[in-house]
């Protein structure tokens, strides 16, 4: 429907079916996760360390899920290995222009849990579990988790 036409979009009359648009803009605070997203602008990937449990999280969290203590920020290595992967040829609506894209879970040496990210490589081919990958940071920060992505290790 053209923008200059005011009207109601009707798909069917029996039963009567119309289009209903409803949208929301959220005020989304990263709150206690803010440090992680700010650090991406300094080319730093933060994880978390629980002193009580001696457990290192590959995905940032301010409190330990095992003992409840506050964690300390740690810098994750910028090189890791593919723990698992998938290449998406369809997706949710906001990401349909991105397909095909590859998601990976990254494992880091000495870190107890994983990190989910996109893998950018030519044609989304020659990807395997155990393959070395390295973190890259976008120069123009958008303040979301896509400010970091991975490429095959050079």
């Amino acid at each position: 429907m053209k923008n200059d036409v005011k009207g109601t979009e009707i798909y069917k009359t029996d039963p009567l079916i119309k289009r209903w648009d409803y949208s929301l803009s959220y005020t989304h605070s990263y709150a206690q996760d803010s440090e992680f997203f700010k650090a991406l602008g300094r080319n730093v990937l933060l994880g978390s360390y629980c002193k009580q449990c001696n457990y290192k999280y590959g995905t940032y969290r301010k409190y330990c899920m095992y003992c409840g203590s506050e964690t300390a920020d740690i810098e994750l290595p910028l090189k890791g290995k593919i723990h698992t992967f998938t290449t998406c040829y369809y997706s949710g609506e906001p990401f349909m222009n991105d397909v095909p894209y590859t998601l990976i879970l990254v494992e880091f040496e000495g870190i107890d849990s994983l990190f989910m990210s996109r893998l950018i490589n030519k044609n989304n081919t020659k990807i395997s579990i155990g393959m070395g990958v390295m973190a890259k940071f976008k120069s123009l920060q958008k303040f979301d988790v896509n400010d970091v992505y991975f490429i095959p290790e050079l």
Binding site: P15, F37, Y90, I104, D112, M116, V145
Partner: protein, 414 residues
């Protein structure tokens, strides 16, 4: 705790879209089916539990209360349960708790979803908001991708193949051929599944469950009320449930919680659950089995309604629920063990993949089918007896939210 029984059940056909009936009327159809089938009236109901997943999809908040008045239960106690894909399974257990605690003598548990309100791509998007919106969703939020990450690792860990996953799709679509309530009955081959459009490697279009419009309802009662309302009630022998981290990346690498028929030596080198298995499914099953005194699930369970949101998830569930050991799920389908009238029929009516997935209704749909199986009334309701599991005495229903963030396992007995 008081014993809890299912005394009646009903559901609508699941469809891609049902523009002629909104959620209230779909629930009314399912509820009336249940009332009529056991000669129960509204006056017999002490209260209800409603189940629907998404206010976003529904475009209506407090839809449970709207439904409750529409079906004639205004003034009775009622609440809404939500827990992602486990919504129906959790609501079923909430209904159980109402009766077991003595808070109610009878309780209607109903679920619904009108997925057709949104197109498939927007639906995928809204469902993906059921993942961490800081760390996971912005990467390309898509539940098929999350399950695909798990399936890829399951293949790596255990040698599971795309062909084995495809066999689940062939079985479930084939079973649905005899189920008039099913959305997608199809006679297909492994090759058809493998050649259907790739969605997220290794999962193709035919490896994935449907988006449906539908409703389902079960009526639960205490032992005394069950005897007066129904000639052949089905007992809910035990419930089990568990939860796990929302983010796949937070899953640890530890040890398998063992079932009675497993030993530590079975899993010497397996780091568990990682992302290959659903820890919450295993713990929920273990809890339910202990309460029901089940020691060897394969021998002691006659059929199962498992949460086959993806073919890979059904194979993973065989293992989580101990129908076989971890790593043997692929062989379990390959040997045909989960087919009708084989060792342990799984999703005899078609599961989420072929009967349909109207999220809030799904877990209750499983309870409806299991109830009919255990009443030996499949022929009456499906108008043919091809899917009746012979001599079914004990069945299991199972559901999950997220990538296993909530899981439920309930055990039903004749």
């Amino acid at each position: 705790m008081n014993d809890v029984y299912i005394v009646s059940a009903g559901m609508t056909k699941f469809r891609k879209h049902n523009y002629d009936e909104d959620f209230r009327l779909m629930v009314k159809r399912a509820f009336d089916y249940a009332l009529n089938d056991a000669d129960i009236t509204h006056k017999d109901m002490d209260g209800s539990v409603s189940a629907y997943f998404s206010d976003h999809i529904q475009g209506q908040l407090i839809a449970g209360a709207m439904t409750n008045d529409y079906i004639g239960l205004a003034t009775k106690p009622s609440k809404r349960i939500e827990g992602g894909g486990a919504t129906g399974g959790l609501a079923f257990q909430a209904g159980y708790e109402e009766i077991a605690s003595g808070n109610m003598e009878t309780c209607a548990v109903y679920g619904f979803e009108s997925m057709s309100h949104l197109n498939t791509w927007k639906g995928n998007d809204v469902i993906a908001l059921g993942s961490d919106s800081n760390f996971d969703y912005p990467l390309g939020g898509f539940y098929t991708a999350y399950y695909a990450l798990m399936a890829t690792r399951h293949m790596h860990e255990f040698g599971t193949t795309p062909e084995q996953m495809a066999m689940v799709s062939v079985k479930n679509h084939g079973n649905a051929m005899h189920n008039p309530f099913a959305q997608s009955p199809m006679k297909i081959t492994v090759d058809d599944v493998l050649k259907s459009p790739m969605v997220a490697t290794p999962l193709t279009m035919l490896d994935i469950s449907l988006m449906s419009d539908g409703a389902a309802c079960v009526i639960l009662a205490s032992e005394e009320r069950a005897k007066s309302l129904c000639k052949n009630p089905v007992k809910i022998r035990a419930i089990g449930s568990s939860s796990d981290t929302m983010r796949l990346s937070d899953r640890p690498f530890g040890k398998v919680p063992l079932l009675p028929n497993e030993s530590k030596d079975d899993y010497k080198n397996l780091k568990y659950p990682g992302v290959h298995s659903f820890r919450a499914g295993r713990i929920a099953a273990k809890m339910a089995y202990e309460r029901a005194n089940i020691n060897d699930p394969l021998k002691e369970i006659d059929f199962a309604e498992l949460y086959d949101s993806y073919t890979s998830a059904e194979i993973q569930a065989y293992e989580d629920l101990g129908f076989c050991k971890y790593g043997e799920g692929g062989k379990f389908i390959e040997k045909g063990y989960s087919e009708i009238n084989n060792k342990l029929p799984v999703n005899p009516e078609g599961g989420l993949i072929a009967s349909g997935h109207a999220i809030g209704a799904t877990g209750i749909m499983q309870a409806v089918y299991a109830f009919w199986q255990l009443q030996h009334s499949v022929k009456k309701h499906l108008k043919n007896g091809k899917l009746q599991v012979e001599n079914a005495k004990r069945g299991v229903i199972h559901s999950h939210a997220g990538t296993g963030a909530y899981e439920t396992v309930s055990i039903l007995e004749r």
